[in-house]
């Protein structure tokens, strides 16, 4: 008798121990996955956050040298100001930071501390403040990428001079400007507003954000109604036979097709056969819709299937037509699930790169697109483009773009969760 009890206790201990081990494995697996996510986020955040502020250098611009009376600016139109020749005037304003420099070579070095568009920046300042210009105005000019990176500490100053992009004399100028308190940071609004640029300090994600939004909009407009209607038909109306089985299998297969194949399809048919404009969010949206449709259809069908059949029967039994039963009772209940599927599909589309490369959305686009028919980049393609560039400034901008992309994805997934929570039918 006691033998038997002992045997039972032993076997129980064995089972309990194996459960303990199993739990440890599970926790280990979860921690491993979490650790990688954490490393990814830390890595991206630590190299990307510095793109959200930029270095500016304070310059006193003597507008009196440009014109006899600064009040005259207020009478000039924007076009008049555009026609003013300001290049040498702007350069002279910068030389005034170091009046002692004589040599042409050194002057050139000084100018190179600033972004290439310094003249344009002074002109813009003049345009927006033309009614109120004093004899001398203090303007914050964008520093060049090299200065920006040195100022942020991302650039190794202790390399040999010939291995550095920034020269010794420029570092001397820079340190002197820092000592005089003329170098400062400001929030990098242009980064969020502007399109791409060959100059890292001037490049922005504005163009790709707008491009991505247009693309997603096209995807939403195309794939949401088509997906929902297809799902309703397949789930509620289509006869169950070989044809619909075949369609069902192929929709599932379509969801598994590598995205680059859709890109080839877009290139071959949408661009070459139909001749729609290359590199545009319209074409990108059409191609991504093809990819998103199966996701939406599958999610919508699943949520339609989850509506209890008794609801359909209840409606049919009072004499509703099949369409009334579906549209009045089944679809409203399934809608949160369908919306969730749609948002997840859109989030997938937002992060998709490969098909966009093939339809030419990988182009270098300086302007922020105004309509879905303008050539444009998109966020993931921008990441791809900048990650290939050598300049230091693009490194932080690549990470910052990934941060924005992740931010949008998290927002969309959050929206999906909230919609599901809020509109879910309580039984």
């Amino acid at each position: 008798m006691t033998d038997r009890i002992e045997q039972r206790i032993n076997s129980l201990n064995k089972r309990l121990n194996s459960e303990k081990r199993f739990r440890i494995y599970c926790i280990g697996a979860m921690s491993f996955a979490l650790a990688w996510v954490l490393i990814l986020f830390l890595n991206i955040f630590s190299s990307g956050y510095s793109a959200f502020y930029r270095t500016v250098i304070q310059v006193d611009v003597p507008f009196l040298n440009l014109i006899e009376d600064t009040t005259q600016f207020s009478e000039m139109s924007s076009e008049d100001i555009n026609n003013l020749s300001m290049y040498s005037f702007s350069k002279k304003a910068i030389y005034r930071l170091f009046p002692d420099i004589e040599e042409k070579k050194d002057k050139k070095m000084l100018i190179r501390l600033f972004s290439i568009e310094f003249e344009q920046e002074i002109r813009e300042f003049l345009k927006s403040n033309k009614s109120n210009i004093n004899e001398t105005e203090t303007i914050y000019l964008t520093a060049s990428d090299d200065v920006d990176q040195v100022n942020k500490g991302n650039y190794p100053r202790d390399l040999d001079e010939d291995k550095r992009r920034i020269k010794d004399i420029q570092l001397l100028f820079f340190d002197d400007l820092v000592d005089r308190g003329l170098v400062s940071y400001e929030f990098n609004l242009p980064f969020l507003m502007r399109g791409d640029s060959r100059e890292p300090e001037l490049a922005g994600v504005g163009g790709s954000i707008v491009g991505s939004l247009f693309t997603i909009l096209v995807v939403l407009i195309l794939s949401f109604p088509i997906g929902i209607f297809a799902a309703i038909y397949l789930e509620e109306f289509a006869p169950k036979n070989k044809v619909t089985d075949f369609i069902e299998i192929n929709i599932n297969n379509l969801a598994a097709v590598p995205s680059i194949v859709f890109g080839l399809l877009g290139l071959g048919i949408i661009l070459n056969t139909f001749g729609l404009p290359r590199s545009t969010p319209l074409v990108g949206g059409i191609v991504l819709s093809l990819m998103t449709l199966p996701t939406i259809i599958i999610a919508t069908r699943a949520s339609l299937r989850a509506v209890p059949p008794s609801i359909r029967e209840g409606a049919l039994a009072v004499g509703a037509t099949k369409m009334q039963a579906v549209m009045h009772h089944v679809v409203p209940v399934a809608m949160p699930g369908a919306l969730t599927g749609t948002i997840i599909g859109l989030a997938q589309a937002l992060g998709e790169t490969a098909p966009l490369l093939l339809i030419g959305m990988v182009a270098f686009v300086v302007d922020v697109p105004q309509t879905p028919l303008d050539a444009s980049a998109s966020l993931p393609v921008q990441v791809y483009l900048w990650s290939e560039s050598a300049e230091r400034g693009y490194v932080e901008k690549t990470s910052a773009t990934i941060m924005m992309l992740l931010g949008f994805l998290i927002l969309m997934n959050l929206a999906a969760v909230l919609i599901r929570r809020k509109f879910e039918t309580k039984w």
Partner: protein
């Protein structure tokens, strides 16, 4: 005896055969049901009584593989005739299901839905009147009159089932089919529904499928006993329960199988 024969026949099924794909669920069922009476259908699980009742308002049409052969006449009209509109049929033949299935909408909307889609109520006040009357007939109005805009799914099981009855009578049918309406309810809720059936039969022809022989005995005037897809016997309820003519009926009601 003469009085019994005076009752007019509302529904007549003639040689009804139903197949689900390869499997035959009903074999040559012929029976009639009297107007403004309760007819009970009893039998063990899987005997075809639910299949039969679902033929009466063509709810089986929803099932792709279901084939119905034979004839069902309501007031002399063949309901499987090609020119019969199934929506119109279901307006005349309401149904209450085994599990209460109110729509996930307000109590008011649950009852108002039928009249609304059939265009029965012209004005909002008409619709309100129909809803109130239906709820009153279903003996639910007093319990819910202060919360008509609350969700129908928030009611108790018995109340939900009475809401479904109110929904069924809202379109003013002639016939109400009840497919085991009390199987998901407790005895008190069951008693209320049975009491309600007694009231409703003055206006409606009621066909009820039930597993409870006591229930059949309490509420019905005629009872049919199904077994393995065949209608074994149909007769006055007293006769079925006191003096059945078939041995299988005898065995079932005495609890020897089922």
């Amino acid at each position: 005896m003469v009085k019994e024969n005076m009752k007019s026949i509302k529904i007549k099924a003639h040689n009804l055969n139903v197949h689900y794909g390869e499997k035959q669920a009903l074999f040559d069922v012929s029976m009639y049901m009297e107007e403004k009476q309760v007819t009970a259908l009893i039998g063990p699980s899987g005997c075809g009584k639910s299949t039969f009742i679902r033929c009466l308002n063509r709810m089986n049409d929803v099932i792709d593989i279901c084939k119905v052969q034979g004839k069902i006449e309501i007031d002399g009209n063949d309901i499987y005739a090609p020119d019969m509109q199934v929506e119109q049929l279901r307006e005349r033949v309401g149904m209450v299901f085994q599990k209460p299935n109110p729509f996930p909408k307000s109590i008011f909307e649950n009852v108002a839905y039928g009249p609304r889609i059939h265009g029965i109520a012209e004005h909002k006040s008409d619709l309100e009147e129909i809803v109130v009357n239906s709820l009153k007939k279903a003996a639910l109005f007093d319990e819910v009159k202060d919360r008509l805009n609350d969700a129908g799914t928030g009611l108790s099981g018995g109340q939900q089932q009475r809401l479904c009855i109110a929904r069924a009578i809202s379109v003013n049918p002639d016939i109400i089919l009840m497919d085991e309406p009390c199987s998901a309810l407790d005895p008190i809720a069951t008693a209320r529904i049975e009491e309600l059936m007694g009231e409703l039969k003055t206006e409606y022809t009621i066909i009820i499928v039930t597993h409870s022989m006591q229930q059949a005995a309490r509420v019905s005037s005629r009872t049919g006993f199904f077994h393995l897809g065949k209608l074994v016997e149909v007769d006055k309820t007293e006769t079925i329960f006191s003096n059945p003519s078939d041995q299988r009926t005898q065995d079932y009601i005495t609890g020897r199988f089922g």
